[in-house]
């Protein structure tokens, strides 16, 4: 008898061969073989990719993200039941940041809810939680007259991000993209492909679009290369997950498994403004009401290192006397801000802006300070004359 070893299948996006061809450094991320950064010879490297997105434009393969479609007479009621934001406020073509919650008020995942039609919604979910999210949505919407479909493998998703992102995509599309507001979607031709969904969304704290194209390798590679070619004049750089993480951290955008998880509730994560308690019943609401009355024991804060050192995920946070008070959820050098920053959970009493804390780095308590978040906010564009 032989023992068959369960080898975890590492999944690949349709652009996997393209990334390898371009010399990207590949890593496993949530079960996916993904580029972490591209070589310096083509303008890559985490810092260069990060700066390209802040000052010009960068493109990301985000096909590992999942997609769930809800359609039918009671699609809105279903979405309202399983998500914390108020989807009733969405016009057709509009999107919102939201989250799927457990009855305890903690996170199944954070999502972007797009209203694609009168009774049609698309939830864009995280790669690592695809199956869990789909099962959760399907199992908790059975009572509604609404079809739930997992479209996760139906798209190659490319994010075009940065102040030049719109100009770049405009070169390849027939739709007037300037008319599409932030967190709205449109459909149109991209690189000759008809009726392509384009959302003015992203995960970089910059302007830009995310496009959803057919998932076959040939089409995916063609569009990827056409975007890079069209973006030459803007200094476009292909970007990996390394820059995606530093960009979202500067923008203080939460990452599942770090700032939010099944043990952290909405109030602790500071996502109050996306949680509409005044709307009708939704999963997690009762627990959140109770949690609000009881008050939170920990709260998410932004830290900036004062002394030399880089806080990393999981490092302990101490008060000035060296007593352990919390932990870092994400920490990194911030390439654009040129500071070492972190997000951390600490007790509310030590969360005030200006509070001095210490981050334990290799046994040493290195001084840091609580600072306002987001660390980075993109400058408002001057009105076009």
């Amino acid at each position: 008898m032989s023992v068959v070893e369960a080898t975890p299948v590492v999944r690949k996006t349709a652009l996997n061969a393209v990334h390898r061809q371009m010399g990207a450094k590949m890593v496993e991320f949530n079960g996916w073989d993904m580029p972490v950064e591209y070589p310096a010879s083509i303008g890559g490297g985490i810092i260069a990719e990060h700066m390209a997105v802040r000052t010009g434009v960068g493109i990301f393969d985000v096909s590992h993200m999942g997609d769930i479609r809800l359609a039918g007479r009671e699609a809105l009621a279903a979405v309202q039941h399983i998500s914390m934001n108020d989807a009733a406020r969405l016009a057709v073509g509009q999107a919102q940041y939201s989250a799927l919650l457990y009855p305890q008020g903690t996170f199944v995942d954070d999502v972007i809810v797009h209203r694609l039609g009168e009774d049609e919604y698309l939830l864009v979910i995280n790669a690592g939680t695809r199956e869990k999210d789909f099962n959760w949505v399907r199992d908790n919407t059975r009572q509604f007259d609404c079809k739930v479909e997992n479209l996760s493998d139906d798209f190659t998703q490319i994010a075009i991000q940065g102040p030049k992102g719109v100009d770049l995509l405009q070169k390849l599309s027939d739709v007037d993209l300037s008319a599409v507001k932030f967190y709205w979607v449109t459909r149109g031709t991209v690189c000759g492909l008809k009726n392509i969904l384009m959302g003015r969304t992203g995960y970089t704290a910059e302007d830009g679009f995310e496009i959803y194209i057919p998932p076959d390798e040939e089409t995916s590679a063609r569009v990827w290369h056409e975007i890079l070619a069209a973006g030459k004049e803007f200094g476009v750089v292909p970007c990996g997950l390394g820059a995606r993480n530093t960009l979202r951290l500067e923008g203080t955008l939460p990452l599942y498994g770090h700032e939010i998880s099944d043990t952290i509730n909405v109030w602790e994560a500071g996502l109050d403004r996306f949680c509409k308690m005044e709307k009708a019943e939704f999963i997690g609401r009762a627990a959140l009401e109770k949690a609000k009355a009881e008050g939170v024991k920990k709260t998410l804060v932004g830290l900036e290192m004062v002394d030399r050192g880089i806080a990393r995920d999981g490092y302990k946070v101490q008060d000035e006397s060296g007593r352990e008070i919390g932990y870092v959820t994400s920490g990194s050098p911030a390439p654009f801000l040129k500071k070492n920053i972190a997000l951390a959970y600490v007790p509310p009493a030590l969360a005030a802006i200006g509070t001095t804390v210490r981050v334990e780095i290799r046994g040493q308590g290195v001084k840091a300070q609580v600072v306002p978040t987001p660390f980075y906010k993109r400058p408002k564009k001057a009105a076009k004359s």
């Binding site: 450094k25 972490v36 985490i46 030399r308 990194s332 050098p333």
Partner: protein, 126 residues
């Protein structure tokens, strides 16, 4: 990449010259990516063959520096505190520390440039 033959190498990707100057290899800087932080021991510190003596951090990762041989630190490249990216630009020039080697015989256990290059290409093949 061709590795200079005037020095010896470790499987942890450090190099050391005969006079005790220590750095990390081009392969190491390449795998780390953008280096943003280097933490080195003070002059006078005793370091031990195979043990961590410092840290190098890229945007993404934290890595220990291992002593190729034992010795006492006689100089530290202070320029790396403000310009750690020097290591990315010129890994074989941007030294980290100089040591007074305790026992030159320990050098015999290290890899030659050719052996190190072979080791790196085999590692990449995995």
């Amino acid at each position: 990449m061709s590795y200079p033959t005037d020095r010896k190498y470790t499987k942890e990707h450090e190099w050391i010259t005969a006079d005790g100057t220590i750095g990390i290899t081009d392969h190491a800087q390449e795998s780390l990516g953008d280096i943003v932080f280097v933490e080195l021991p003070k002059v006078g510190t005793e370091i031990t063959m195979g043990k961590a003596f410092g840290t190098v951090e890229s945007v993404k990762a934290v890595s220990d520096l291992f002593a190729p041989v034992s010795g006492t630190v006689t100089a530290v490249n202070e320029a790396l505190a403000i310009g750690p990216e020097q290591v990315n630009k010129d890994a074989h020039g941007a030294w980290m520390v100089k040591i007074k080697v305790k026992d030159p015989a320990e050098m015999n256990a290290l890899l030659s440039a050719a052996d190190y290059e072979k080791f790196v290409s085999e590692e990449a093949g995995h």
